[in-house]
C-alpha cells in the first residue's frame, strides 16, 4: 500500500461513514416524533453530509484524477464504498436510530479526537472542525439513550431490542484492518487499539445510566471497511444516485 493509496482509502472511509449516516438520518426529515427532534436530527444529518463533502473532496484531491465529491458519492458502486456496516442499518424507529447514533458517535468522537493530531494537516483540520459537531452529536444521542432506556417500560424494551440487534455491528468500529495499522504506524490515522478502551468505557457508562445491558456476543459482523456490505447499502445507493445515473454527465 502506498502512502497515497492509504490516504485515499482512509478519507473515503471517513467520507462514506458520514455520507451514509447522513443519508439515513435525512430519511427522518418531516417524520420525526416531535417537531423539535425533527429539527435536531436534521441538524445532525446536515453536519454528517457536510463532513462527507470535506472528506470526499479531500479523497478526490489525494487521488489526483479530478474526481469531485459528487463523482465519488454518485458514481461508485456499492463494493467501492468503505463505510462501516453500522451506519447503513435501517432507521426502523427512534430507538434503533438513537442506538445506532450513540454507538457511532461514541466511536466517532474518540476517532476524531485522535485525528486532530494527524501528521496530515488536512486530516487534522477536517477532524478539528468536525469534532465540535460530533461532540454535540454524542451529547444528544447519549441523552436520548439514557432518557429512553430509563423512560417507560415500553421505551426500555424498545431500546434493549435495538441494542441487541445493532450490537453485532459495533465491533467493526474499532476493528484494526491493515489500513488502520498502516495509518496508525505512520501517525496519519487513529490508533484503534488505543482508542478501544476509551470507547468501551463511554458506552458502558451511558448504557449503565440508561439501565440497558450490552449483549455478550462471541462474534461480530465486519466487512464494510473493505467494501463487503449488508443488503441495505445497495438500496441506499439506488435511491441516492438515481438522478445522477439517469442523466449522466449533467450539472445540477
Amino acid at each position: 500500500m502506498t502512502h497515497q493509496q492509504a490516504l485515499f482509502e482512509y478519507a473515503l472511509r471517513l467520507g462514506d461513514n458520514a455520507l451514509i449516516l447522513g443519508q439515513r438520518l435525512s430519511e427522518w426529515c418531516g417524520h420525526g416524533p416531535v417537531l423539535e427532534q425533527d429539527i435536531a436530527l436534521t441538524n445532525i444529518a446536515l453536519d454528517q453530509v457536510g463532513q462527507a463533502r470535506s472528506w470526499l473532496t479531500y479523497a478526490g484531491e489525494i487521488e489526483g484524477k479530478g474526481r469531485s465529491e459528487d463523482d465519488l458519492a454518485y458514481h461508485r458502486e456499492q463494493r467501492e464504498f468503505r463505510n462501516v456496516l453500522l451506519v447503513e442499518q435501517p432507521n426502523q424507529d427512534w430507538a434503533y436510530t438513537m442506538i445506532r447514533q450513540f454507538l457511532f458517535d461514541a466511536f466517532n468522537f474518540y476517532l476524531h479526537e485522535q485525528l486532530t493530531g494527524s501528521r496530515d494537516q488536512t486530516i487534522a483540520a477536517i477532524a478539528a472542525k468536525s469534532l465540535k459537531e460530533i461532540t454535540y452529536h454524542l451529547r444528544y444521542s447519549s441523552e436520548w439513550v439514557i432518557r429512553l432506556g430509563d423512560g417507560t417500560d415500553l421505551s426500555h424494551r424498545k431500546m434493549q431490542t435495538a441494542l441487541d440487534d445493532l450490537w453485532i455491528y459495533s465491533g467493526e468500529l474499532t476493528q484494526v484492518t491493515p489500513l488502520d495499522a498502516f495509518m496508525a504506524e505512520e501517525e496519519l490515522g487513529a490508533d484503534l487499539d488505543r482508542l478501544r478502551p476509551r470507547y468501551e468505557e463511554k458506552v458502558r457508562e451511558v448504557l449503565e445510566e440508561a439501565t440497558l445491558s450490552a449483549p455478550n456476543l462471541p462474534y461480530h459482523q465486519q466487512g464494510g471497511k473493505e467494501g463487503r456490505h449488508s443488503e441495505h447499502l445497495g438500496h441506499i445507493l439506488a435511491v441516492m444516485q438515481s438522478v445522477q445515473r439517469a442523466y449522466p454527465g449533467q450539472k445540477w
Binding site: L19, Q23, S26, E27, C29, G30, H31, G32, P33, V34, L35, E36, Q37, D38, I39, T42, N43, A45, L46, V49, G50, A52, R53, L56, E69, D70, A73, Y74, D93, W94, I146, R147, L148, D150, G151, T152, L154, S155, K158, V239, M240, S242, V243, Q244, Y247, Q250, K251, W252
Partner: protein, 315 residues
C-alpha cells in the same frame, strides 16, 4: 368597561395601528379567526415538509442535498414559531394537531400535489415559497403582535428559499434538453396550483371583509394574486420557460398582467380532500405522530423521574 366599550376601544387600537398583544382584551371572533389562520399556517409549514422531504434522499448533488435539508428544516422551524404564536391565544399544540388529524383544521392545498421530479424542488421554492412570501410580507404588518413578529423572522428565510428554488431551475434551463424539459414540465404542473394558493376570488371569500377590518389581512386574495403574477412572469421569461396560460398578456392600461380563468372546480376538489395527495399527506403525518407517541411519553416519564430524584437528593 362594558362589552361595547371594549369592542370600541379594541377597534380604535386596530385603527391606530397599535398591535394587539396576548394579554389585551379581544373579541372572541378575532381570537378564533387568528387561531384558525395561524394554525392553518403552522400546519402548512409542517405538511409542506413532505413533498420536499420526498427528494432529500435523491438530491442530485451533495450541495443540493445540504441546501434542501436545510430548507425543509427551516420550514419545521416556521411551524414551531407559528405554533408558539397560536399558543399565545390559549390553545396548545397538541390540540391544534388533533384538529388537523380530525380534519377540522386545514393546511395549504398546494401540498396535496405530488413532487415528481427534481425540477419540482426548483418550482416549489420559486413559486410556492414565492406565493407564500406575498402573503407573509403582508402579515408582518398584521394586527396581532406575536403573529406579526413570527412573520418577520420567517420572511427572511422564505426569500432565501425562493432564490434557492429559482437557482435550481436556472441550472436546469442552462443544462441539457432533458433538463430544460423537466423544468418546463414542472412549471406546467405548479403554476395554476400556485395561483390557487391565494384562495378564492374576493367576492367568494367569506372571511376577507372581517379579516381586513381587523387588519389581520391587509390585502385581498385577488390583490395578492395579481401582485404575485406581476412579479413572477418576468422571472419565467428570464428562465426561458413558458407560463402555461394562453391568455397571459401584459395590459398597459391596467399596469398589470391579464391572465386566464382559474379552474375553481379543481381548487374546491383539493380543498375538500380529493386532491392527488390529501390522504397520503394526512396518513404520513398521523403515522409520524402516532409512532412518536412512545418517544414523547418516555421523555416525559424520564423528566418526571429525574425531577423526583433531584427532589429526594435535595431533601
Amino acid at each position: 368597561m362594558s362589552d361595547n366599550q371594549l369592542t370600541k376601544h379594541f377597534q380604535d387600537q386596530i385603527d391606530q395601528e397599535v398591535k394587539i398583544e396576548p394579554k389585551d382584551w379581544m373579541p372572541e371572533g378575532y381570537r378564533q379567526m387568528l387561531i384558525r389562520q395561524i394554525s392553518q399556517h403552522a400546519h402548512s409549514e409542517v405538511i409542506g415538509m413532505l413533498p420536499e422531504g420526498n427528494w432529500i434522499s435523491r438530491a442530485p448533488s451533495l450541495r443540493r442535498k445540504v441546501a434542501l435539508l436545510a430548507k425543509v428544516q427551516d420550514e419545521a422551524g416556521h411551524g414551531l414559531y407559528l405554533y408558539s404564536a397560536a399558543e399565545t391565544l390559549g390553545i396548545d399544540r397538541d390540540e391544534l394537531i388533533a384538529q388537523l388529524h380530525q380534519g377540522k383544521a386545514k393546511y395549504s392545498s398546494i401540498f396535496n400535489y405530488p413532487s415528481l421530479t427534481w425540477a419540482d424542488m426548483g418550482a416549489i421554492g420559486w413559486l410556492v415559497d414565492g406565493a407564500a412570501i406575498m402573503n407573509q410580507v403582508m402579515l408582518t404588518r398584521t394586527s396581532y403582535g406575536p403573529y406579526a413578529r413570527a412573520m418577520v423572522r420567517i420572511c427572511k428565510e422564505e426569500s432565501f428559499h425562493q432564490r434557492q428554488g429559482y437557482e435550481i431551475l436556472l441550472t436546469l434551463v442552462r443544462g441539457s434538453e432533458d433538463q430544460k424539459a423537466m423544468a418546463q414540465d414542472s412549471l406546467n404542473r405548479w403554476w395554476w396550483p400556485a395561483l390557487m394558493m391565494f384562495g378564492p376570488n374576493d367576492e367568494d371569500s367569506v372571511h376577507t371583509q372581517q379579516s381586513m377590518a381587523w387588519k389581520i389581512k391587509r390585502k385581498t386574495n385577488d390583490e395578492l394574486r395579481q401582485q404575485f403574477i406581476d412579479a413572477t412572469v418576468p422571472q419565467a421569461d428570464y428562465l426561458g420557460l413558458k407560463v402555461p396560460d394562453p391568455d397571459l398578456k401584459w395590459n398597459d392600461e391596467r399596469g398589470h398582467y391579464d391572465f386566464g380563468p382559474i379552474d375553481w372546480d379543481e381548487f374546491w376538489q383539493v380543498v375538500k380532500g380529493y386532491g392527488p395527495c390529501n390522504r397520503q399527506r394526512m396518513r404520513d403525518h398521523i403515522a409520524a405522530h402516532e409512532e412518536g407517541a412512545w418517544v414523547r411519553e418516555a421523555a416525559l416519564a424520564y423528566a418526571e423521574k429525574r425531577a423526583a430524584r433531584l427532589e429526594t437528593a435535595v431533601a
